[in-house]
């Protein structure tokens, strides 16, 4: 069993009322913004299960928008997220849908900004912790504890070796590595959780690897 952190018990510092319905929701929104890597201009959020049933009580909707605006879970502007979104020109809509056999506190987040689009789905799993289980239709498992590199690439020999080589050259240690694809020879997804931050230069190098289509990162949350 992992050792219990002092500040997991005496903390986290957060805006209330609920660590799973409010703080975790802020972090899901923040993760979507960070993976998109740009200001969010348009968002469609689909609430599932317990999120759909009790969002109004714990302001899960407000919390998700706060995250999309770049607020952390202890940001005192969280209650005003809808007003801040208006000023920032962020358009948003909420929908309610059964997302299937997923955690009760789940949401699908579709975001757009500067011509780029991202769809992700994640769950708030308690104590403000999150699990992103879907990025662009690929099954993943990201909790934001590590810096995460996500590449979409052609499912060909050598692409993954080349990507990990670039990380090695930049002195970035991979803690966890996961690859998945939809069908053989189609597009594939690589997910690398690293001990070190991934600098912009390394990201540019990964982009130049033959076969790599898109590169996204999620800095530690």
């Amino acid at each position: 069993m992992a050792q219990i952190g002092l500040f997991d018990i005496v903390g986290p510092i957060m805006v209330g009322p609920s660590s799973s319905h409010t703080a975790g929701a802020v972090r899901l929104g923040l993760a979507a913004r960070k993976i998109l890597g740009k200001d969010v201009e348009k968002a469609k959020i689909t609430l599932h299960g317990s999120f759909a049933a009790t969002y109004w009580g714990h302001r899960t909707n407000v919390a998700l928008i706060a995250g999309l605006l770049g607020m952390a879970m202890d940001d005192e502007r969280i209650p005003h997220a809808f007003e801040v979104a208006k000023e920032a020109g962020l358009e948003y809509a909420f929908e309610f849908e059964d997302l299937g056999d997923v955690h009760p506190n789940s949401a699908r987040i579709e975001v757009e900004g500067s011509g780029d689009k991202l769809v992700m789905a994640g769950a708030s799993i308690g104590g403000g912790r999150i699990n992103i289980f879907d990025v662009s239709g690929y099954e993943v498992g990201v909790d934001g504890t590590y810096t995460t590199l996500l590449t979409r690439h052609r499912d060909e020999p050598g692409v993954i070796a080349e990507i990990t080589k670039v990380l090695a050259i930049h002195g970035i240690n991979i803690a966890f590595l996961n690859v998945s694809r939809k069908t053989r020879g189609s597009d594939a997804l690589l997910l690398a959780e690293t001990d070190d931050d991934i600098p912009q230069l390394a990201i540019q190098h990964v982009m130049r690897v033959p076969g790599v289509l898109t590169v996204r990162t999620l800095p530690r949350l």
Partner: protein
């Protein structure tokens, strides 16, 4: 270095000839690969947020809460008009805990301790006692480390969420943590810290989590105040020499076992207890109707 139980923590204090807060600071510094100094600094920040949540919570008039209406403010008014019994300590314990609970429910910034639902217990009890004793900031940081130590051994051996263990695992554990901190501020030993923690937890065993309309409002916020009061009583009893009889580790094991035998309807699902009372259901229906419009 590992801390998995109260007995182990007390053993570490002896082995290393260190104080309770020293052991906890070293544990965390080792675990998160940082220095004891950095741990203490982070605790200083945590203390600031706790203080601010008390102050802001007293001003909160309940604009953002669904059922409760500025409980810290209401209680403060009553104190100012001398309409409540008890000396300054008892008054402040209730006031501070209500204020923080209200602030949390109203989307205020708080320290979840150990959870957001129980966030008023530790600041309520510990800060009111610190005001009474005139404790310094350094003493409070030490007391917070002791409180965290009680929390760590609780989490290592039992559930720390209403969904798993009912309210005994939230307000109950918070009350144990607060009782430990108070004993430390009173100059008690490590054994007395855990005696107080045991006495506080014993008074919460079996407590269910049945909040109205799935909110963190009723009965949560007023229960934060009574759990904080229990912490003071438990600390006083332990310091007076009244034994807990059952060691803290065994109290936590009992809490875990009770949590397992608690039906799901009484573990944060709002399907039983107060939530399913006629008034609880009526309030839920009213709120749901209001928000579906």
């Amino acid at each position: 270095m590992d801390i998995n139980s109260a007995s182990q923590l007390l053993e570490l204090m002896k082995e290393r000839d260190q104080t309770f807060p020293q052991v906890v600071a070293e544990y965390e510094a080792f675990r998160s690969n940082t220095s004891c100094e950095a741990v203490r600094e982070q605790m200083r920040e945590t203390l600031k947020v706790m203080r601010a949540s008390v102050e802001n919570g007293i001003l909160d008039r309940g604009e953002r809460t669904h059922i409760i209406t500025g409980y810290g403010h209401i209680f403060n008014q009553a104190i100012e008009e001398d309409r409540v019994l008890g000396g300054s300590l008892l008054r402040n314990v209730v006031l501070y805990a209500l204020a923080v609970g209200q602030h949390n429910a109203g989307l205020g910034r708080i320290v979840a301790c150990p959870t957001a639902g129980a966030c008023g217990v530790v600041p309520g009890a510990m800060l009111a006692v610190a005001d009474e004793l005139g404790s310094s900031e350094e003493e409070l940081i030490e007391a917070l480390l002791v409180m965290g130590g009680v929390g760590i051994v609780s989490a290592a051996q039992g559930p720390i969420s209403g969904a798993e263990g009912g309210c005994q695992s939230e307000c109950g554990v918070a009350s144990s943590m607060a009782a430990g901190a108070i004993v430390y501020l009173m100059g008690g030993s490590g054994e007395q810290v855990f005696a107080a923690a045991s006495l506080a937890l014993q008074s919460h065993l079996g407590l269910v989590c049945d909040p109205l309309a799935s909110l963190v409002e009723v009965p949560c916020v007023t229960r934060n105040a009574t759990s904080a009061t229990t912490a003071v009583a438990a600390a006083n009893m332990a310091m007076a020499g009244i034994p807990a009889v059952i060691p803290y580790d065994e109290c936590v094991a009992a809490m875990k076992q009770i949590g397992k035998s608690m039906p799901e309807s009484l573990r944060e699902t709002s399907k039983g207890g107060l939530a399913s009372s006629p008034t609880g259901r009526r309030i839920y229906d009213e709120l749901r109707r209001k928000h579906s419009q």
